[in-house]
C-alpha cells in the first residue's frame, strides 16, 4: 500500500517527528501464535523490527529425554497442532530409519492418506485465517467448516480430533476403519468445492488482491539462506518439496505436481497453498485406489510392536512382552539419525540421538516455521504497518511448532 501522505514533502512539515516504538503482540488477534513484534515506525513505515518468539515454549525437547521413545508422540502432536498427523508420521519415520525397518505397504498408504488430509487442514487454516485478517470472513468460515470435516474423519479414525497421538514406531495405533476410503473421498470432494468457491470469492476482489500482490516479497536467495522450506520457499519459485526431492513412504509412486510461485509475495504464498490442496486431493485419490482393504498395518516384530491385547491378558509370553516394551521402552540402537519429511510448513526434521537405552538421549525437532518466522524481520522491514498482517499471515507461523 502507498502511504496516505505521499504527496507531502517532508521539508514542508512544521512539526518535528521522531520514530515511534510500537509493540504488537504477544497476544494480538493478527498474530496467530504468540509472537511479539517491537517495531520502530517512521510514519507508517517500519524502520526496524525485533521479532520475539518463545511465549509458547513448553520444553518439549527436555521432556522427551525423560520418557520412552513411544512417549514422544504426544509431544510431537502438540508441535504443529494444525496438522499433528504429519508430525506423528515424521517422528515414526525417524525412529524406523534408526531401527532399519519399513512399515507394511498398507500402512504406508494409510499414513499418506491421513498425512495429506492433515496437510489440507493446515493449508485451509492458513489461507482461511489470512483471508479473515484482511476482512473476508466468509471464506474463513467455509474453510474452517471444511477443516472440521477433516477432523471428523480423523476423529473416526483415531479417536481424537486434534491431538491424535496415533503414530507408532512400526505402524499405527489401529488399522483403518472400513469407511476410510469413502469418507476420505467425500471429504476431499467437499474441500475441492470449497477451494473453488473461495477462489471465486477472493480472486475477483480488488481489495484482497491489492493487499497481497507485491507485498511481503522476499528474494529467492534470501529465502534459501534463511532456510525456508515448504510453501513459503516454493512461492519464491524453488520447487523444493521433500516428497519429490527425497521421496519417503510411497510418494515416488503417486503422480502429483509441485506448485511454485513466481514473485514470492503474499499472493503467491496464498495461491501455492490453494494449489497444494488440489495436489493433496490427487494423492489421496491415488492412495485410496492403491491401499489394500485387508492386511496388517503394523510390522511383525515382537521387539517393536505391542502384542495384541488378547495375548497380553491370556498368555504369559504376551504379558512379559507387553511389560518389557511399556516399562523399559522400545530400544533404539545407539547412534544418531536425521530424518526429514514434508510437514505442513516445510521440511520437518527429527534429529535423534540414542544411547541404546529405552530413553531418548536427545530429540531435536527441526521446526520449519521457526526459520520462516526468523525471516519475518526481512519481509516486513521497510514495509507499511498494514502490510504486517498479510505478511505474517502468509508465513503461517504456528506457535507450538516454532517455540516447542
Amino acid at each position: 500500500m502507498e502511504p496516505l501522505d505521499q504527496e507531502l514533502d517532508e521539508a514542508e512539515l512544521e512539526m518535528p517527528t521522531e520514530p515511534m516504538l510500537l509493540n504488537v503482540g504477544p497476544a494480538h488477534p493478527a498474530m496467530h501464535g504468540t509472537v511479539r513484534c517491537v517495531m520502530e515506525l517512521s510514519g507508517e513505515v517500519i524502520e526496524h523490527v525485533d521479532v520475539q518468539v518463545g511465549y509458547l515454549h513448553r520444553g518439549f525437547e527436555k521432556m522427551c529425554e525423560r520418557g520412552t521413545w513411544t512417549q514422544v508422540f504426544p509431544y510431537v502432536d502438540r508441535c504443529n497442532y494444525v496438522s499433528p498427523m504429519l508430525n506423528n508420521v515424521g517422528f515414526a519415520l525417524a525412529c524406523e530409519k534408526m531401527l532399519g525397518v519399513t512399515v507394511p505397504e498398507r500402512c504406508q498408504w494409510y499414513r499418506m492418506i491421513l498425512g495429506e488430509l492433515a496437510r489440507m487442514s493446515d493449508h485451509l487454516t492458513c489461507d482461511g485465517a489470512m483471508a479473515m485478517e484482511l476482512g473476508a470472513f466468509t471464506p474463513f468460515l467455509w474453510m474452517i467448516k471444511a477443516r472440521e470435516m477433516i477432523w471428523d474423519l480423523l476423529e473416526e479414525e483415531t479417536g481424537a480430533r486434534l491431538t491424535h497421538s496415533f503414530g507408532r514406531v512400526g505402524g499405527m495405533a489401529s488399522p483403518p476403519t472400513e469407511n476410510l476410503k469413502d469418507n476420505a473421498r467425500a471429504v476431499t470432494k467437499h474441500i475441492l468445492t470449497v477451494v473453488d468457491e473461495v477462489e471465486k470469492l477472493l480472486l475477483g476482489n480488488r481489495i484482497f488482491l491489492d493487499r497481497l500482490e507485491g507485498i511481503g516479497v522476499i528474494s529467492q536467495a534470501d529465502a534459501v539462506s534463511l532456510g525456508w522450506t515448504g510453501p513459503c520457499l516454493r512461492a519464491s519459485g524453488i520447487a523444493y518439496d521433500v516428497r519429490k526431492a527425497s521421496p519417503y513412504l510411497k510418494y515416488d509412486e503417486v503422480d502429483f505436481d509441485v506448485p511454485v510461485g513466481t514473485t514470492s509475495d503474499c499472493f503467491d504464498r496464498f495461491m501455492v497453498r490453494l494449489a497444494e490442496m488440489r495436489q493433496s486431493a490427487r494423492i489421496i485419490e491415488q492412495a485410496c485406489q492403491r491401499m489394500a482393504d485387508k492386511g496388517s498395518v503394523n510390522i511383525d516384530d515382537p521387539r517393536i510392536m505391542l502384542p495384541p491385547k488378547q495375548e497380553v491378558y491370556n498368555t504369559i509370553e504376551g504379558t512379559i512382552q507387553h511389560f518389557k516394551i511399556v516399562m523399559e521402552g522400545l530400544k533404539l540402537p545407539a547412534g544418531e539419525v536425521y530424518s526429514y519429511s514434508e510437514g505442513g510448513n516445510g521440511e520437518l526434521g527429527f534429529y535423534l540421538v540414542s544411547d541404546g537405552s529405552g530413553t531418548p538421549y536427545r530429540v531435536r525437532i527441526r521446526p520449519p516455521c521457526f526459520l520462516i518466522t526468523a525471516g519475518l524481520e526481512r519481509v516486513i522491514t521497510g514495509a507499511m504497518m498494514a502490510d504486517v498482517v498479510p505478511s505474517f499471515g502468509s508465513l503461517n507461523m504456528i506457535g507450538g511448532e516454532c517455540d516447542r
Binding site: 520475539q52 518468539v53 518463545g54 515454549h57 520444553g59 525437547e61 527436555k62 521432556m63 529425554e65 525423560r66 530409519k97 534408526m98 532399519g100 534470501d222 534459501v224 539462506s225 534463511l226 532456510g227 522450506t229 524453488i238 523444493y240 526431492a245 527425497s246 547412534g335 544418531e336 539419525v337 536425521y338 526429514y340 521440511e347 526434521g349 534429529y351 540421538v353 538421549y361 536427545r362 531435536r364 527441526r366 521457526f370 526459520l371 518466522t373 526468523a374 525471516g375 526481512r378 517455540d403 516447542r404
Partner: protein, 196 residues
C-alpha cells in the same frame, strides 16, 4: 551415499577432521572447533559441494565427555541434492569456555538457530550479530537443555522490568495470589531482592 563428499573434506581439511561416519545413510564429518568456520565456508563456496541451505543447527550435551558439547549442523544443497552433517566439539566439563565461530555470515538461518543453542546450552558464538536468549526470557537462570539442568527446577520470580515512563506495579505478591504458589522457593532464595 556420497562418500565422495567426505573424501573431499578430508582432502582439504585432513588435519582438522576428527572423525567421519555414514551411520543410517547420514554422512557425517566431525571437525576441530578451530576449523569450524573455514569448513563451513568451504561447504558453501566450493562448487562441488555448494551447500546453499543450513537446514538444521543444534547441540547435544555429553556431560561425561570432554569437550562436552557437540554442535551439530545439517546442510542441504538445493542444486546438488546432497546432504551432510557437520559436527564439532567444544566446552569443558563445567560447560564453560564453550565457544565456536558463528556461521551467520554464510547462512541467515544460523542467526536464530545459534541463538537457540546459546539459550538452551550456553554455547557462545563468536561474531554473532545479536546473541541473546530467544525462547527463554533474559532473566532465566541456567541453560535448560544441559543434562545437569533438573527438569523440575523452579525459576525465581522476576520483578517487572524497569521500563522508563511506565508506572506499573506487580498485581500480586510473591505467591501470585495463590496459597500454593512458588513462595517456598522465594523464601529459600538467597536473592530475595529480585522478587517483588
Amino acid at each position: 551415499m556420497s562418500k565422495a563428499l567426505i573424501d573431499l573434506i578430508k582432502k582439504n581439511f585432513g588435519a582438522a577432521v576428527l572423525e567421519t561416519h555414514s551411520l543410517y545413510g547420514d554422512d557425517t564429518v566431525v571437525v576441530e572447533a578451530s576449523a569450524w568456520r573455514e569448513v563451513a565456508r568451504f561447504l558453501r563456496d566450493s562448487p562441488q559441494v555448494s551447500m546453499d541451505m543450513l537446514t538444521d543447527f543444534t547441540a547435544v550435551d555429553f556431560p561425561e565427555r570432554e569437550p562436552r558439547f557437540e554442535i551439530v549442523a545439517h546442510f542441504y544443497s538445493l542444486s546438488k541434492g546432497h546432504r551432510l552433517r557437520l559436527k564439532t566439539r567444544t566446552g569443558d566439563a563445567e560447560g564453560d569456555d564453550a565457544e565456536v565461530d558463528s556461521l551467520c555470515e554464510f547462512w541467515a538461518s544460523a542467526n536464530w538457530m545459534e541463538r537457540e543453542v546459546f539459550d538452551m546450552f550456553g554455547v557462545v558464538f563468536k561474531n554473532h550479530p545479536d546473541l541473546r536468549r530467544i525462547l527463554m526470557y533474559p532473566e532465566f537462570e541456567g541453560h535448560p537443555l544441559r543434562k545437569d539442568y533438573p527438569a523440575d527446577k523452579i525459576q525465581p520470580l522476576m520483578a517487572y522490568r524497569d521500563v522508563p515512563n511506565i508506572e506499573k506495579v506487580a498485581p500480586f505478591s510473591v505467591d501470585e495470589g495463590m496459597s500454593f504458589g512458588r513462595q517456598t522457593h522465594a523464601r529459600n532464595s538467597d536473592d530475595d531482592s529480585r522478587v517483588n
